[in-house]
Amino acid sequence: MGRLLDKSKKVVEAQLAGTTIRAIQGSMIAYEGNVSFKSAGFGGGDGVLAGMKRRATGEALSLMECSGHGVVYLAVGGQYVSVVDLANETLQVESQQLLASSGNLNTNVTFTGLRGGVGGQGLFTTTVSGQGQVALLSAGGPLIHLEVSPQYPLVVDPDAFVSARGQVTQSFVTDVSWRNAVGQGNGEAFSLRWDGHGVVSIQPAER
């Protein structure tokens, strides 16, 4: 399996030895060796059914497959990157923040409830599960990891949410009052609430 490493704060280095990784289309900034790039196809490498699901839900991923022998450097828009190791775990992630994945990982789209149906974040989220590594993007600064435990549920802004791992469930918090109705809202009407055990990662910027 291709290995992902942090080359710098903003660049991911993927080492390929006859292996394949998947990454956002156009995110290659440089490579060494003999590497070929091709579109991961309609389903992003997960088959036609997954592709149709993505198209239908707006959680579309334009991925490319990088394969061969050598080192590929990946970056998007000067955003910070972090590499997360997954050992038969499930990670929920905003599809546009998923820079690259390697190893034996499945991506899927799941219904997350009515969150963001009004907030514009969509009703669906991408889940990554299996064994391997993913590289996440974070705008504005490095990812901030926040712990969630039963006593301490966490509420985050949907625009800052990047990923969640562990046994966490999400719910949608609204704080809509007559103020929003008359255009006097404070811009924080919708929030994501996380309960359970796990880690939620956010970025220090709002999309």
Partner: protein
């Protein structure tokens, strides 16, 4: 090195010790001491203006490869920065040639020789490629959007480069060739030849490409600077 980084986006320089500093117009943030700023021109680019015919055409093509610069002289310390972009100081005390787009050059010692060269002769290695090489270089520049010309600095001193999203330095000359996305390419130092390579296959023709059809192949000995973003300056 006379330039030192204050943080990732600002450099300071002792103008007296540097023997004058050439920098992008407007990039001065503040200075202390007795420093005079005067307009500075790359020799040749102004003389072209009054001429006609082919020279003018060449001059116009070269215009993209020229930023207005200013010369700082005197005694004191000047701080430079531009548009919140990250800076990187290249130490050229060993000599050698630095090739970089003019738009990505923030400042350099006045003692460095600056010239606008055709991309085909970049790195000093493409001398004998003739007309075909020149045409190929022109096509490469036009296609990749990096222009037909690039700025070459040579001599002893140091220069400051600009990039969006930080730098990585890749050594060229190892067992593996190095390929760089044209939008992420910043510059090269040393004897590095850059050639556009297209990886266009039937997928691109069918509109199913992955946005990596054009790549710059770097060969030779030296360093290539790459930014962590595909944003042009």
């Amino acid at each position: 090195m006379v330039f030192s980084k204050v943080n990732s986006k600002v450099v300071k320089v002792d103008v007296g010790a540097a023997g004058g500093v050439v920098a992008r117009t407007g990039a001065m943030l503040f200075y202390t001491g007795q420093v005079q700023f005067s307009p500075h021109q790359v020799p040749g680019s102004q003389a072209m203006a009054g001429m006609g015919g082919f020279t003018r055409m060449a001059g116009r093509m070269m215009q993209g490869e020229h930023e207005r610069t200013m010369l700082a002289q005197g005694q004191g310390e000047v701080h430079y920065g531009h548009a919140g972009l990250e800076v990187h100081v290249v130490d050229m005390s060993q000599g050698g040639a630095l090739c970089v787009e003019a738009s990505r050059l923030l400042a350099h010692n006045a003692g460095l020789q600056s010239s606008v060269i055709s991309v085909t002769s970049q790195g000093g290695g493409g001398g004998g490629r003739g007309m075909l090489g020149a045409l190929r270089g022109a096509a490469a520049g036009a296609l990749s959007g990096t222009g037909m010309f690039t700025t070459q600095l040579s001599g002893y001193g140091s220069a400051v480069l600009l990039a969006h999203g930080g730098f990585i330095e890749l050594p060229v000359g190892g067992p593996n060739p190095v390929f760089v996305d044209p939008d992420a390419f910043v510059g090269t130092y040393g004897s590095v030849q850059v050639e556009l390579k297209s990886a266009v296959g039937w997928r691109e023709a069918m509109g199913r490409g992955v946005g990596e059809a054009m790549q710059l192949q770097c060969t030779g000995q030296g360093i290539v600077y790459v930014q962590a973003s595909e944003e042009k300056l």
